[in-house]
C-alpha cells in the first residue's frame, strides 16, 4: 500500500526487449521496495516471464537499466554470477536437477559459487529444506517427490543463498490443485519473514491476502498498478476489468 521506499531493492527503468522483430517489452518501469510483495498478472504472452527474466539477466534487455540491491546488472563489469546469488528465482516447471538429491540441488551453488565447504553447505541446505517443511526429504531424488514437494525444494534452493529478492514465475501453475496450497503456504511464510518478492501468478486469493501491489501487464506494458483490493474490485482500465472478470469466471 505504501509507495516504494527511498532506495528500492529492484529498480528497472525503461526496459525494452525485442526478440527479432517481436517487441515484447515496451518500456517497463518497475520499482520494488524492501519487504514488498509485488504481484504481476496479465494475459499469456503479455511479457510477464520476460520481465522477470530481465531482472536477473537470464534475458538480456534490449535497452533500459536494471539495478538490484545497488548492483547495476547490465554493467559489463558486474560479476553476474555473484549478483544472481542475491536474486532467487523459482520456475513454473521447478527445474530441479534430476540427477541430484534434494539436498544436492540446494547445495550445488552454495559449494560452487558461494565457496562453502561440503559440511557447511549441507548444514545450510538442511536448514533451507526445513524451512520449506522438507527436512526429512533431503536424501530423496526429485523423481521420488510430488510436484508440490519439488517446487518447495526449488524454493529451498533459492533461499539457501540468502537472496535479497525472490522472483516467482507461475510457481503453482504446473501443480495439481491439491498440491498448490503447500507451496503457497511456504510463500506466505517467506513473505512474513520479510522477503522481498515479485510473483507472477494467477492465484488471486494469495494476491488478496499477501500482495502489497498488483501490476497488470498487457502487450509488453504495465497497464495499471495498485493495491489488490482496488485492482480486483475496481480497476481503472477497461483492459484490466476484462482480464479480471475472465479470471474470476474460471
Amino acid at each position: 500500500m505504501t509507495p516504494p521506499a527511498a532506495t528500492p531493492i529492484v529498480r528497472a527503468t525503461a526496459i525494452h526487449k525485442h526478440f527479432g522483430a517481436l517487441h515484447v517489452l515496451k518500456g517497463v518501469d518497475l520499482e520494488v521496495a524492501e519487504r514488498e510483495l509485488v504481484f504481476v498478472i496479465g494475459p499469456s504472452g503479455s511479457g510477464k516471464s520476460t520481465l522477470l527474466r530481465c531482472l536477473n539477466r537470464l534475458e538480456e534487455p534490449s535497452s533500459g537499466s536494471v539495478v538490484v540491491d545497488g548492483i547495476d546488472l547490465l554493467d559489463p563489469r558486474t560479476d553476474i554470477n555473484h549478483a544472481r546469488q542475491r536474486i532467487g528465482m523459482v520456475f513454473q516447471s521447478f527445474n530441479l536437477y534430476p540427477h541430484m538429491t534434494a539436498l544436492g540441488n540446494v547445495t550445488l551453488a552454495l559449494r560452487k559459487v558461494a565457496g562453502r565447504g561440503r559440511a557447511e553447505a549441507d548444514a545450510i541446505g538442511q536448514a533451507a529444506l526445513a524451512r520449506v517443511g522438507l527436512a526429512d526429504r533431503a536424501g530423496h531424488m526429485p523423481a521420488q517427490l510430488s510436484g508440490g514437494q519439488q517446487q518447495r525444494v526449488a524454493i529451498a534452493r533459492a533461499i539457501a543463498l540468502e537472496p535479497r529478492v525472490m522472483l516467482f514465475d507461475e510457481p503453482t501453475s504446473a501443480l495439481d490443485p491439491e498440491l498448490v496450497g503447500s507451496v503457497l503456504q511456504v510463500m506466505r511464510e517467506l513473505r512474513e519473514s520479510g522477503m522481498t518478492m515479485v510473483v507472477v501468478s494467477h492465484e488471486m486469493g494469495f494476491a488478496r491476502a499477501a500482495a502489497d501491489r498488483v501490476l497488470f501487464m498487457d502487450e509488453g506494458m504495465i497497464v495499471e498498478a495498485g493495491p489488490p483490493a482496488q485492482i480486483f474490485a475496481a480497476p481503472a482500465q477497461e483492459r484490466t476489468r476484462a482480464f479480471i472478470s475472465q479470471i474470476k469466471h474460471h
Binding site: 527445474n95 536437477y97 550445488l108 560452487k112 559459487v113
Partner: protein, 221 residues
C-alpha cells in the same frame, strides 16, 4: 575341418603370442577410449556456443572426420607425414588418428545428449549464480551422459573393434599377433582363435547394448 580351423597343437603353440596381443589390444583400448572421450567432450562443449564462427568450423571438423575412413587417416599419418619429416611411429599415429576420428563420433553423441537436456536446467543453474561452464559441467553433462548412455557404449564398442586397425601399422595387438602366428604356421587357427577371443570379449557388451536399445525404444513409443 576342425583340424584345419581349430588345430589344437597350433593353438597351443600360438597361445602365448595371442595372449600378448590381447594384452596390447586392451591396453590400446584403455588409451584410445579416454582420448576419444576427451576430444568428444571438448567438441560437445564447443557445440553449445551459439556463435556462427564457432559452429560452422566445428560442424565441418566433425563431418570431415566422420567422412574420412579411419584407416585412410591412419595411413596418411603413418605413410604420408614422414615425407614432411614428421615421424610419429605406429603408436603415435594410432593415438592421433583415434583422437581425431573417435573424438568426432563421441562429440556427436554427447552433443545430442546435451541437446536432450531441457533449457530450464541451465537456466535454473544460472539463476543460482553458476557460471556457464559450471552449469554445463555439474548440471547438463551428467544428465546428457545418462541420456545417451546406449550410444556412448555403442561407440565405445566400435572403438575397441577399431583398434584392430593398428595391425596395419605393425602394432602387435591381437589381430597383428594372430596374423604373425598364421604366417609362421601356414594355418588359419590363430586367426580363428583371435576372432573367438574378440567375440568372447565383446559379446557381453553387445548383449547389454541390445537390451539398452530395446528399452530406449520402448520408452519412446
Amino acid at each position: 575341418m576342425i583340424e584345419t580351423f581349430l588345430n589344437a597343437a597350433i593353438l597351443k603353440a600360438a597361445w602365448p603370442i595371442l595372449l600378448a596381443g590381447l594384452g596390447n589390444t586392451l591396453a590400446l583400448s584403455l588409451l584410445v577410449v579416454p582420448l576419444g572421450l576427451a576430444g568428444g567432450v571438448v567438441l560437445a562443449l564447443l557445440s553449445t556456443v551459439r556463435v556462427q564462427w564457432v559452429r560452422w568450423p566445428l560442424m565441418a571438423w566433425v563431418d570431415f572426420f566422420r567422412a574420412f575412413p579411419p584407416l585412410v587417416l591412419l595411413i596418411f599419418l603413418y605413410a604420408g607425414l614422414p615425407f614432411a619429416g614428421l615421424e610419429m611411429g605406429g603408436f603415435g599415429c594410432v593415438a592421433v588418428a583415434f583422437f581425431l576420428n573417435t573424438g568426432a563420433y563421441y562429440g556427436e553423441v554427447l552433443r545430442a545428449g546435451i541437446e536432450s537436456v531441457p533449457a530450464g536446467q541451465i537456466e535454473a543453474a544460472r539463476s543460482t549464480g553458476l557460471s556457464r561452464l559450471q552449469a554445463l559441467a555439474h548440471v547438463v553433462l551428467p544428465q546428457a551422459v545418462r541420456n545417451v548412455m546406449p550410444d556412448l557404449l555403442s561407440n565405445t564398442l566400435e572403438v575397441v573393434k577399431l583398434t584392430s586397425l593398428a595391425s596395419v601399422v605393425a602394432l602387435p595387438e591381437l589381430l597383428f599377433q594372430a596374423r604373425q602366428a598364421q604366417s609362421l604356421t601356414y594355418n588359419p587357427t590363430p586367426i580363428v582363435a583371435a576372432a573367438v577371443i574378440y567375440f568372447l570379449l565383446l559379446w557381453p557388451v553387445v548383449r547389454l547394448l541390445s537390451r539398452l536399445e530395446n528399452r530406449a525404444l520402448a520408452g519412446r513409443r
